[in-house]
Symmetry: C2
Subunit: 323 residues, 2 copies
């Protein structure tokens, strides 16, 4: 099956999940967040991962849905913690209903993810469950670091990469590994796919950081410079702080620490510093390095190269995306 | 093993769980809530349930710990939703740290519960997982109803019983059933134990309602009349509203709707209405009926009566407790 076909199938299967349960007040927010769409990258990865080793994707379908439900659960709870009011151009759950509803529906959603996961082949169940739980708890660890970084001024690039590995990459990697396990892959191949996912995931998040500054507003969907305005410790900012000479660093810190500023001016000033330090190229190089590492891992997976094309192209497109 | 011995063993095993993980800021609140103690009723039920069918309790140990971790996760998140500041005479997690920490540590705790659960015998894994997830999501449903009842004035006794069945009884029942499955019980016996747990669980919550009015302050640990003061829709209040003649009902509603009142006066007035309507006896009878139903189910379990004594006495003590 093509990635596009799988993406459509995932969309249909998510639509078919039944949330008309009692009390509906608990399940309605779950139905709502899942209906808001998204790229469905993780379940597509799971099914592509399965397809590498098995002719059908059938065996990985429930785990794929479990992962998408889990991912949306993390968005739901993260939005409470980040006090985010909008998600995919719609009000977030704690805004549309209230915070209690968002906490509790999120909890139910996490349990529902496990219920879907448990519907995989019993022979694969223990392994699938172990990868899923390990991945899930690491996503929480990533979120904890992300929140802590907000109030820290000494975050290193290594710490940042570790944070995005946990918050973003492990779930992409886990999605692929779970698919591979369901498809009957060897432990070695499953681990290689996991490593592929880590590389792609880190490169994917670096691209996100990159698009905030170098994206095309019309295509990106978000306003350019949002991360700059709120002093988000992105790869770009941390690299700039590291590479800057004392004078440039002082100017960058002055921009960061300014309490009263004009948004456009700040974006312009910080972008100019990035330009001077060639942060664009540094970020592109870092992305390429993680992507290359990912590609090397995929190469080693013991199935014919032509069978890997669908996954390889899908991952490549994620990195060459403009939104 | 005696229930007392099992209780001590559970306490030791909980102490042995390692929460010195990174980032510790995520795991410290988990360590904290688990260290606050409690009766450990659910894991004791799991181990007693296992012991009924197996000579050892070994096979149910990890699921028992999983259930205790899950139970404390629900308390952690419920305390945020209920804005409770104290739990077991200590500050709640969202007070001691903050709300974000309480949400995220709770999430990690739920996942950790699944990780413990997954360490049971692989032959039992699927069944144990299904009971656990079904039970867990029902506990969320119970909490949702509980919150909704706060702002409703037409809650029926049936609705109330259904709410406490979900919020309290199913976890006791699920604890027993999971223990039974780990111990190798037949599906029929596991279901009988589940039903036993439901009866005990509902009677247990009715006793909680009862102690708020008829408990001995010194033994109860909480102030008498707390439920009356905040108009909590307990079995006692709902029964009084149902049984009262129009005049008494009007007086009871006047007490409930009063915005400005003296706490002691209100407790005295509502207690007097309960006295007049003999709510004490009604509640005792309801408790007895659920307890009797539970006992009948336990009787039908196909193991010799003497082997059931430990469980039967432990459950009985829960209902004759004074705190």
């Amino acid at each position: 099956m093509t990635a596009k076909g799988i993406q459509q199938l995932v969309e249909n299967e998510i639509d078919k999940l039944n949330w008309k349960l009692t009390p509906y007040s608990l399940y309605e927010p779950i139905e709502y967040v899942l209906s808001l769409g998204g790229k469905r990258i993780r379940p597509v990865f799971t099914l592509l991962g399965c397809q590498l080793f098995d002719n059908t994707i059938e065996k990985a379908l429930n785990p794929a849905l479990a992962i998408e439900v889990f991912h949306n659960f993390t968005l739901l709870h993260d939005d409470i913690m980040d006090k985010a009011e909008m998600r995919r151009n719609q009000p977030t759950v704690h805004v549309k209903w209230d915070e209690n509803r968002a906490i509790l529906s999120g909890d139910a959603m996490l349990i529902k993810a496990y219920q879907l996961l448990a519907q995989c082949d019993t022979t694969a169940l223990k392994s699938v469950l172990d990868v899923f739980s390990q991945t899930s708890v690491e996503v929480c660890e990533g979120q904890q670091y992300d929140m802590e970084f907000e109030s820290r001024n000494d975050v290193s690039i290594d710490e940042y990469i570790n944070m995005i590995r946990l918050k973003t990459a492990v779930l992409l990697a886990g999605s692929l590994k779970i698919g591979a396990i369901c498809g009957g892959a060897s432990a070695e191949d499953a681990d290689l796919l996991y490593r592929f996912g880590i590389g792609i995931g880190i490169a994917f998040q670096l691209k996100d950081d990159y698009l905030d500054v170098y994206g095309d507003t019309a295509k990106f969907g978000k306003k350019i410079g949002g991360d700059i305005c709120c002093n988000k410790k992105t790869f770009l900012l941390l690299t700039a702080l590291k590479k800057a000479d004392p004078e440039t660093k002082a100017e960058l810190l002055r921009q960061i620490n300014a309490n009263d500023f004009d948004k456009e001016e700040k974006i312009k000033a910080v972008s100019a510093i990035y330009e001077k330090l060639d942060i664009r190229t540094h970020t592109e190089n870092a992305m390429k390095a993680y992507y290359e590492d990912a590609v090397q891992s995929l190469k080693k997976v013991s199935v014919p190269d032509e069978q890997k094309a669908e996954l390889s192209v899908f991952a490549e497109n994620l990195l060459y995306r403009e939104n």
